[in-house]
Structures are given as structure tokens and as C-alpha cells.
Symmetry: D2
Subunit: 432 residues, 4 copies
Amino acid sequence: MGKNKLGVSIVGALGNDATLAVVGVEAMKAGLADRTGLVTELADFKGLGLANPDDFVFGGHEVREGDLVRSAAEYVRDNGVPTGELLAKLEPRLRAVSREIRMGTVSGCGEAIRAMASPAARRDAAPLRQQVRDLQADLLDFKKRNGLERVVVVNLASTEPAIDPPPEFASLGAFERLIDANPRNVVPASVLYAYAALDLGCPHINFAPSLGCSVPALDELSRRRGAPHMGKDGKTGETLLKTVLAPMFQARNLRILSWEGHNLLGNRDGEILHHPENNLAKVRDKDIVKKLLGDKAHSRVLVDYCPSLQDWKTAWDFIHFEGFLGTKMRLHFIWEGNDTMLASPLVLDLVRLADLAQRRGESGSMPQAAGFFKTPYLVDEIAFPAQMEMLRAYARKAAETPAAKPSGEGAAKAPAPVKAGAKKKVATKSAK
Amino acid sequence: MGKNKLGVSIVGALGNDATLAVVGVEAMKAGLADRTGLVTELADFKGLGLANPDDFVFGGHEVREGDLVRSAAEYVRDNGVPTGELLAKLEPRLRAVSREIRMGTVSGCGEAIRAMASPAARRDAAPLRQQVRDLQADLLDFKKRNGLERVVVVNLASTEPAIDPPPEFASLGAFERLIDANPRNVVPASVLYAYAALDLGCPHINFAPSLGCSVPALDELSRRRGAPHMGKDGKTGETLLKTVLAPMFQARNLRILSWEGHNLLGNRDGEILHHPENNLAKVRDKDIVKKLLGDKAHSRVLVDYCPSLQDWKTAWDFIHFEGFLGTKMRLHFIWEGNDTMLASPLVLDLVRLADLAQRRGESGSMPQAAGFFKTPYLVDEIAFPAQMEMLRAYARKAAETPAAKPSGEGAAKAPAPVKAGAKKKVATKSAK
Amino acid sequence: MGKNKLGVSIVGALGNDATLAVVGVEAMKAGLADRTGLVTELADFKGLGLANPDDFVFGGHEVREGDLVRSAAEYVRDNGVPTGELLAKLEPRLRAVSREIRMGTVSGCGEAIRAMASPAARRDAAPLRQQVRDLQADLLDFKKRNGLERVVVVNLASTEPAIDPPPEFASLGAFERLIDANPRNVVPASVLYAYAALDLGCPHINFAPSLGCSVPALDELSRRRGAPHMGKDGKTGETLLKTVLAPMFQARNLRILSWEGHNLLGNRDGEILHHPENNLAKVRDKDIVKKLLGDKAHSRVLVDYCPSLQDWKTAWDFIHFEGFLGTKMRLHFIWEGNDTMLASPLVLDLVRLADLAQRRGESGSMPQAAGFFKTPYLVDEIAFPAQMEMLRAYARKAAETPAAKPSGEGAAKAPAPVKAGAKKKVATKSAK
Amino acid sequence: MGKNKLGVSIVGALGNDATLAVVGVEAMKAGLADRTGLVTELADFKGLGLANPDDFVFGGHEVREGDLVRSAAEYVRDNGVPTGELLAKLEPRLRAVSREIRMGTVSGCGEAIRAMASPAARRDAAPLRQQVRDLQADLLDFKKRNGLERVVVVNLASTEPAIDPPPEFASLGAFERLIDANPRNVVPASVLYAYAALDLGCPHINFAPSLGCSVPALDELSRRRGAPHMGKDGKTGETLLKTVLAPMFQARNLRILSWEGHNLLGNRDGEILHHPENNLAKVRDKDIVKKLLGDKAHSRVLVDYCPSLQDWKTAWDFIHFEGFLGTKMRLHFIWEGNDTMLASPLVLDLVRLADLAQRRGESGSMPQAAGFFKTPYLVDEIAFPAQMEMLRAYARKAAETPAAKPSGEGAAKAPAPVKAGAKKKVATKSAK
């Protein structure tokens, strides 16, 4: 039975998405919640041998002080969901998970995030290599104490400022040398976390808009270590609608003249995005219309902070399009979704898919999971229906050749952490 | 060159959809319009040997007095599109097409339509068989005078009251006997038109919500005569969005609690739909949410008459859905489309696809065209992305085995009209 | 201190509006809620000597079984507001108020309401005069046991079917004779309640769309007994917006072509309104556009039942208007309000205003309160800004001549209940 | 009859608002348009002796090359309204008005406007005093050639960058000295135009967001010359709604948490506002929510350029508010108005009101016209209903003491233009 357990180590473990992912799974374990919102519960994905959320064991890193009981209570107070009654019942479970959370790092995260972090997380002065080793030590300790053979690491931390990746990110060798060279502010924390995880053979999911594992060097590492990875930027609301509606207009040969999107949100994410440098990272990923339609259409995506909304993302999209005989027509939509409630179940889906992929012997990026991301790594397909068809096709094929039992051998065979200067000895599993 | 010509005979030839389809094609011929809004102009459908709209020759039936110059002018006056300047340039062409329009029938169409028809069209007293023969004589005359080898007949007339098809519609034999028995008010005009066309070997498209060719007996006839057919009820706006958005919610395992749609329109369609019996036919086809989600979700579709809108259909859809941990969320959309401008180019697409199918030796209903209809005959797939994938797959296959040149042999070989008592001698081409 | 106490007897005492009015006031008494949403708390209404909600003592009638603890808990479960924590703290208070609630009557209320009532409330067989006496006995008992000198009676019960008032409602004499004649189904319960209250000298507020006190006979009674009254149909959401926006269009000389409103709600009100006869009453009151603009504009108001919304009324209004040079323009609004949370504080306002009016020696209908109602009795002004100016003007004048202390003498002097055949002896106070 | 003629000299005479104001009035003269959209045509303003639009004689200044026939044709092409047929009929009239338009100045207007101006209008190098004299010479010539006794000057030019008025604007004396001192880029063109007009005794209306006459020095001049003035920034759409809806929330004691407005437009105005410095001026005037609610509510106003919309301003406003028991609720509105069609008739209203005020012997700012402006000069009242009540009260009083016949004596008595150094001799008419 212990063999079925799956470790889930979350970066940003006290953030909203993490808090509700834990609340949700613990509520499922307690028989207090169903699985609405989990894609992998659909009939299309039966019989694949996916891990059961009931077997998830949570841990992670966080840069603020606190614990899950408090962050869940604040969430309920601010958002009105879920009920206080539910939280009360889960309190001992949340307290237990909180004990698995370690202090993380805000190295290279920019001022907005640094300002809200605990002093203990402001580790920019520590050598990068040391930071990586510390993160890995935490992960290994998490595995050991919980008797885990498999751990998936998920990044749910606040958006870092947009960066232009340095040339050293293009190959694993150069990347390793860069880590050892220890330059300041070049390697964002999201990349360090991804490196630490993949290097330990832990699959990595980057659900944040930060760079994370969307880096050639880390893709190379993923293939070497047999640890699949995917990112970046979860597709939960307005962008999801865009990637569903834009293909509709295209399929009808209607010319999109303008697509203007205005997103309002009021949670910590919104507050961080209030900083222009962090906002840029988000808006870049969201401007899917440009990717879909090129420069023919006028498009704009705004993400603005509106404190009273808390997590209730509210977006207005205006689509101006031209049809037959030059006739201009209009579509407006108003989306009122709770961002965290939309994101958390997808995080659980991705944990299951990453774990499945690893057990199936796959590595590198996970194109089958493209539909979960605004900027799916190494995938050109942006239309959501086509992306979901990719996932269904993967599932059909996977059902034919079931994965090895989650007995954990794979994880046991995972190579030792990379030490500087020792990388070449690692056997390449699936690099192409 | 005459061999390339394709006859397009429209039932409801002075209605908005018909008027703008003709205006659009004539504007294309004159180099005054592009092909935005035509699905068959997309890259996916190149190289199939589709008929060129420049080769379309229009004719048809209508039950009101008038001509295309007047109906086009009224359209511009009421809707503000297209420009009066364009119409002025097309006037001689519209006048010429008007000369090809014959008086139709409102037999079995209900009071609302009857009331707006010319006395000459109120032919309920004429024997059904005679009415069919008259329609066929008009079609044959249209072919002859214009030197046409191929004619596609399209139904764009106002919505008839919803009927429960009589048992005699289940097979061609019983249907023929019913026509000869000549009962009152049992066979709506849309069915008579479809019968007349298919029996002459002319493909038939029913873009209206009326019953038309969505009848087993006529499907049987279609297969015998080698004349493909498809219907019913063109999918242009709010329903299109539904069949795009509902699959999105399903793909994310979000539970739709309620889907409330309120459509307003002010054209003749809206006026006709003001009559409860006609409204019912429309609303039935539109309640796609019930078909998609079963009875789990509360759904309602309203179609109301709002005279000032004319053709500018305006719809509000409210979608209430439940996600993770029972969280209720919301999507609103407001659609502001010109119904006619959305419908007319699709009519041209369907004419091309029906003609192509006939030239490819196909018959019976056209599942590849399911995405154009609210209630695609004999097709269960309702999701628009999947429907379009069906069309693309058809096109890929068709591109491999191109159709015979549009030399019209097929049409020349078309069997003579069915005479009462002589049906059994007709060779069955593709009945299964 | 007992002299300050004000009795508030609610018809429909376990309905949503009543439940939340009580919850709100009890929360205020406990220092757990502020007074947001109470109009009479605005600076304009300071210094008038209005009763303090802290001094309200609740009682009332209800036709279903249950108590306030349960109805409040169901409200929170269904609507997510207010918090369960608040309810837990108020439980003893709600239990105490529940003990003051008596079984009412559904006499003349139509099938929809009858079907959800307790058998004990189905009193159609009892003589009308007896029903009135029973209600009055309950009120007198409520006063006595709580040591109350003043009681305001408020109707918050479900909407009764629309009726055309019989001619006997035109004068008090004819009305009394009708009550004694005891015809079936002619006098709806809302009228009986209003009669019972006014006859005892208790001011009456009819916040429901039912007929209630909007009857000449009862207005006459109000003037005789010195008990002010007002109705009908509280103006809380979409209609409020209409009476604010329509005057704006008029002030700009913009011609409203169409005003289409579609209301969705899912509470018991929505369920009752699902019955066409009850819906009619509601829609009649709501079609304020017709009253404002006459027949020039096309207007439609729909109220539909959408169970998942519960109390969260969601309305889309589409306003099509014409400006300079015949240009058609558009306004859409989408209102998402919690009907009960909007209504309850207004109920408290009206109780205060009715009590103030009585203490000021006023009687008959209360035109100053017109802005609180969709169909203000005997008031032609529909524009909300003008209605509020009426209230402010009343307040300015009232501030100059303060009301008598709420010492209750007025109530002490209130005439004895009218007995059949004894009406003429009652001194007329303010009949005109 | 010539005595009835009223000169209307427009700054920005080929802009959209100017073009359509002229088109509208000329269409009225030709019997081709009604007066929908003119506030002063409402019953409240009958019997005041307002000038008849049929008597308007148009002239003005413009900084781009062109004429009204072309600008009107471009307007119709881009916006679809009014019809090309109407323009064709008005062509000779528009040609005639075009001959009255003189080259203006872009002195102090910022780069965005400068870039689109004719070189002849780039007069920054000319002394300010000379520029004023040139403008005045044009006005006098306009009067003389058309036999006009009264001329109202209206600013409809593009928005200038926001400026902090220099201290010299605080009094007429200092202002005159500043003009003579001729500093660069301190005095925007809108102020020069206002000065030139008022100094000639011509009433001035500043409908643009630019500073214009909203300057103490010019108010002083207005009072001296007996030439009323008013500004700034016409209130046409989204802001109008705000000043109607915000008072509604306040009247119901509902707490506005956030008010987020996003305006899109695509005309030249939008293009100019694309420049951050010009946008600032606009957004400042629009943030009426801050003025109404102070800093308690979070508010944001965005004005973005969306080329395909042309003049069809489309705005989404999201209002988040809190009611009883802390319940958060929502209102969305979507406004789709043609900005020019909304503005032009108001311009005609203001011309009438300014002319009336002058004939009634009034001077200084016109508080009665506050409801026409986003930032009414010297008026604190922002609520539209209250502003309109001010206008109605003014009208009621004005109806009691009718204005002198428009015989032009007032204008004849207007003092001579101020000459530098000669100001003190001018009799003060109404300075306080």
C-alpha cells in the first residue's frame, strides 16, 4: 500500500492554489469532496493506472511564514468558499501537511516577491549551487520520512519578473557552469527549483508564468534523468476561452479585427502582477490571440489589480470581427471564475499525468498536457480542442500499453543528484 | 465553360438569407466583395474541385410578391449593411436573377406564413401531387433556359410550425402514397420542395428549422436518385457558441448547473417566430444543451421578437457552472451578429459541398456538413470542433480521390421524375 | 426603555427576506453587523427620531412549518452568505424570535402557494371574518406578551396570483360587507393581513407584489385608524436600475426603441413565479418601461426560474435606443444581486418610516416612501431620483417638526378592532 | 429675419463632432432630420426663446487640410452612419460651410496633435498675441461677411496634453501679461481660442477635455465682456452612466468597493489618446468615481485605442459593491454608443444655452449647463439627476423673465477687443 503513495512537493506551498489543492485532496480523503474539476476523472482517462489523489502525500517550500490552517482560513474569509465548516473538519490534516513545508528561496525573484518574503527566504547571498543542494536535501528528507518512492514537484509560486533567458540556458553543460559561477539575479528561483527537482529524477510541473523548466538545459536534464516536465502558466479562465473561441472564428472564416481582454483580480497574484515587471510576464503568456492570428488582429490583454475581488477573477473580452460583405459584428464575454478553484484541480491532474509519464518511461516535456498551459513548452498547437484531442489520443495509446505498476522501481533506479563535474557519467535515457 | 455553371434554386428566394446570398455572389462576380465568411475558402478545402461561386446561376421560389432589388434595398434600409452604393452597382444583376423566381406554395405552412403570402401561393386546395409537379416543372424550365446540367435546391424559407412527422414519412413507398392520397396539412411545404428536388436528382440543402429533407423517406429517395441532401437549421450564432463552449466545460470536468439563453431578433424570422407554434420548432433545434448534457443541467432557450433589431440578432447566454469543492462560477456572453450575414456565406458553402458530393457519386445525408446545422440529420456529434474535424477529414480524403469534372454527366443520367405507381422500377443507386 | 420598543410583525416570517431582516437586526444588536444597505442610516435622515433597529421586537405569521434557525441555515447553505459562524452566534436569538411566529393563512392565495403550505394554513373553509379575528388576536397577544405599544406589520410573503380587485374593494363599507358575506377566493390573504393590521391601528407595509393594502377600502381604513400604510412590491434590483436609467435617456432626448429585461432567480420566489398566474403579478409591476415611455418603446420583462441561482438574482437588460440622425445605439447591463440582501434592509427602513409617520400623526399611504416600491400606491412619479428627492424633502420638513417621543400614546389611543355592524361608531381621524 | 441668425464658430471644424453637428443642422434645415438627441427640444425647455438650429450659420478653425464633404464621407465610410444618400443631398450645403473654415493653430498642443496638423497650423513660432489677433480677425470677418450679430465659439478639437495651469492663469491681468511675454508651450491653443472669443464678447463652450476656458483669468474676462462660457469635457457616454448610477448606489447606502471602467474607441480621438500625455487629460476628467466616493472605493478608468471600432465607443464597467451583512454584489454594464452622434446634439444644445444666457445678460460660467460636462467649471454637483434639476430650475426661472429678443443689441453693445495695456478701461459687467 505504501507503494501507491505519491509525494507532491509544492513550491509556493502556502499560496492559494497550493492551499486549495491540499484542502481539496484532504477533503477527498475524508469523503467530504467529489472530484468535479479534475480532467483526469473523465471517462476518457479511465484505465490508465493514474495515481489516486487519496494516495497523495503533500510537502513543499514556501517563502512566507505561516501554515495551511491559517492560509485556508484566510482564503475562506476573503472568498466565501469553501465553507468554514469544511475547514474545521480538515484542521488536523492541514496541520500535519504544514509540518512538511520548508523555507524556500526568493533568489532572483525581483522586488515585489522579495518584499513579501520572510527574511529567511531572502537567500540571494547564498551560492546558487548551495541553494540547489539545500532544496534537494529537503526533497530527499521529505521522501525518506514519508517512505516515498515517487515525488512530483509543482511550482505554484507567485509570478517572477519576465526575463530574457541568458545563453547559458541553452544547454545543460553551460547551465551547470552558470550555477557554479554563481552570478547574481540571472537565475530565477523557479529555475532553481526545477533544476533541483529534475536532477533528483522528480518530474516537474511549472503551473506559474515564471520561466521554471521551460529551458532547453532543463529539458535536456529531464531526458537524462527520466523525469518528465511541463510548463508554463496554467490555462484556467479567460485564456482557456480564447483558445476555444478563436478557433471557432477561424473555422468560420470570420476575420477577427480586435480582441481586447481586461482581467481583474484581487489576490496576492493580482498584487504581484501590479508590479509592471511581473505583469509583463503574465501578459506575454496570455496574448494568445497574437499567436493565433498573427498581427492581423488588434489585440490587447490587461491584467489589473482590483482588491475587492480577491480570487474571483473577472474578465471582459470584446471580440470585434468581420464577416460576409465586410459586416462588422461583436461578441462580448464576461468571465467570473474563482481562479484558485479552477487551477487547483488542474494541478492535481498534472501531478497524475507527470507521474504516469514517468512510470511509462517517458521523459522530456509532456506535449499531451499542452491544453493545461498558456505557453506549452515545445508545442505549437494553441487551439484547446486540438490540444485536448492530443491528450485523448495519448490516453488511448497509453491504455493499450499500461504503465508499470506504481511500485516505485523507476524512482528507485533514478540516478543520483548531479554533482558539478560529474554530469557526463549519467546515462542518457531518452535524449534525442 | 457552360459546363462549369451551377444552378442554385432557392426556396424563399426573396428572404433575407437568399437576398444576401445572391447579393454576395453577384458582388463577387463584379469584383466588389471578397470571400470572408465562406468556410470552403479556408486552406483546408483547397484542391477539392469545388464549384466557383462565380459560376453560380440563381433561381428559385418565393411566396410573397416582390423582387431582389426591392428586398435588398429594404435590407440595407433596415440593417445599415451593406452600403447603398454596392446595391446601386448590382441592380441590373439583381433584376436579372429576379426574373428566375417563381411563385411557390405555402401548403401546410401554418397561419403565420400563410398570412404574409401572396394569394397565388396559398395553394392548399391544389392536390399535393400537382404541387410537386409544378415545382418540378419550374426547376426543369430553370435548367433548360439557363443551359444548366447541375442544380442544387436550398430551403431558406421562414420556419414552419413544428410537426410530429406522420408514420408515412418513414419510407419512400408510404410517403409517395401519402402524396397521392392528398391529405390536408400533413405535408409541410418544406417537405414538398425537398421531395420535388431530390426526385429530379437535385441535391437539397435545408437551412431552415422546418422539417424539409430530414425525413427517412426522402433520405431513401436521395440515395436512389444519387442526390445528396442535408439539414436542418443552419447553425450561425448563439448555437454555434454553445457547441463550442459546452465541450470546453465538459473537457474541464466542470458541471454545468444552468444554461439560459435569450435570443432577440427583429426580422421576418423573428416575426414568424413570434407565433408560438413556429417558435417551438426553432427552440427545439436550439436546445443543444439538453442534447449535450442530458437533464443534469437546467437549460432554457428563448427566441423573442424585438422589432428594432431587425437582423441584428442579440443574445445573452448565462452559464452557471460548478467546479472544485462545489464552487459556483459564471460565464456570460453577449452575441451581436447579423444573422443573415452569418448565414448567407454558409449557404454558399453548402451548395458547393452538396454539388461536390454529387459529383463524387455520394448520396444520402452529408455527415461531413454536420457542423453547419443545429440538428444535423443522422449525426450524433454535436460538438463543433469535432464536427469540423469530420469535415476536414472528409476533405483530406476527397483531395486524394478528386471528383469527376463538373461535366454534368451525372445530372444527365439522373432518372426521370417518379410517377405515381412507377416507383419500384427505379434503380436503387446507393440505398442501404 | 420599554417605551422605545417597536414590534415588527412579519407576514411570511420564515421566508428569505424575513429571515435575513431578523438575522440582520439581531446581528446588529449583538454588535456583529453594521448598517450598510439601510437607507435611513444616510446623513439625510439623521435627527428625525427614527426607531432604533436595536429596539425592534420581531413576531409574525408563516404558513410553512419550521423556525428561523433552520431557515437561516438553509439560506446560508444555498447562498453562501452570511457565514455559518455568524448564524451560530445568533442561534439563541433566532430561537427566541421563532417562538413569536404563528400559523397564518393561505386563503385566496392560489394553488402554487397552497401546495407548499402546512395543512394548518389552508384555512379557505374558515369564514373570512373569523380569519381576520384570529390574525388580530395573534397581534394583540404579541403586543401584550412583549409589552409593546407600537407594532408595524410587514408583508413579505410569496407573490399571490394577480387579481382584478372586485368593485367592493373601492370603499371600506362595501369591503366590510364583503368580508362578512364570505365569498371564496375573492379576498387574497395579503388583503386580509393588511385589513387585520390597519384595523388594529398598526401601520402596514406591503413589500410583496401581492395586492395587500393597495386598495381604496384599506386606504380609507388607514386614515380612520391613524395607521399609515404603503405598497406594493419592493424595488430592489433590475427595476431600480430601470427607474434610474430610463430618466437618463429621457433627459438626453434619446428615443428608447426596445428595452428587454430577463430576470433569473432560483429561490422560493422564483419557484412560485414559475406559475404563470403568479408570474403575471410580478411582471405587471416590473414593466416600468411601459409606464415611463408609454407604448412608443418595445418592452418585455421576463422573470424565469433558474434553480442553481437560489437568491442570486441575475438579470440582463438590453436597451436599444436611437440618437441623433437616427443612429441606433445600445446599452446592456448585467445585474448580479442577492435579492434578499437587497430587500431586507429596505424592509427595516420602511418599518422605521411607517412608525415615524404614525408617531407624526400621519395616516393613509406614504408617498415619501415611493422610491422603495415598484408600484407605489397613489404615486405617479416613477423616476427613482425624483422619488428620493421626495423622501429627502419629507425628511427636511420632518426634521423641523420632530415627532412625538415614541411613548406609545398614539398606539394606546388606537381604536378597538372594527366589529361587523359597528364601524360607523369609530371616530374618523384623518379620512378625507 | 437676419437678426435671428446665430453664428457658430467651431474650433476643430473638420473633426467628427463638428462635422456631424454641421451635417445634423443642415439636414434639419433641409427637412431630412428630426431633433432626437437635443436636450433643449424637451418640453422642459419650451418657451425660453432659444435660437432655432435652422438659424445657425457655421464657421470655424481647423488645423488639418480638408473640407466637410470629405470628412463627412470618411465618417460614413468608417462608421456606417448616417447614410451616403443623406450626404449626397447635403453636399452643396457642406461645401458652402467649408468655405467659412480658416486655418487654426496647434501652438502648445503637444506632439501628437502637431504631427497630424498642416504645416500652416504649426504656429508655435508666432507671438501668442499675434495668434490671438489672427483668430479674432477671422471671427470678425466671419461675422461681417455673414451679417451676424451673435457668434458662439465652441471648442471641439482633439484633446491636448494635461497641463498644470501656470499661476498667471489665476487673474486676467497676469494672463494678459503672460500672453504678451510670449512664453513657449505654456499656453495651449484651447486657451488661446477661448481668450480670443471671450475677448470679442463671444460666448465660449469648451466641449473638449483640454483646459480651454476653465481658467480663472478667462472667467474674469467672461464676466467683463458679458460673454458666458462653460467647460470642460462633454459628458456623453460611460461617464454619464457613472453620474447616474453612482448616486443610485449612494441613495441605497450600498458601499462601492470597486468601479473599473474600460473604454475602447478607434477614432482620431482614440488615436490621440493613445499618447500617454493626452490620455492623462482624459482619464483625469473621467474619474468621477473618485470625486463622488472619495478614496473609499477602488476605481480605475482606462481609455484604449481599438482602431476597428472607429467612433463606436465600447465600454465595460464593472461595479463591485457591498450590501447588507457584508454581501458583495455586482453590476456590469456594456455601453455601445457612437460618440460623435451622442456629442453633436449636445454641442447644439450648449450653443443655444450660451446664446440664451448672453441675451439674458448673464456672464461667467454657466452652472445650469453642468450636466453636459464631465468637469463642470465651478460646479461641485456631479450627480446627473441633480445637475439636470439645476437646468430645469434655470429654465423655469428663465421662462418667467424671457430673454430679450435675439435682436443682437447685446452683441452690438459688446465691448471692443481688449488691447494690451488697455484692459482697465473696460467696464466690468458682472465681475464679483
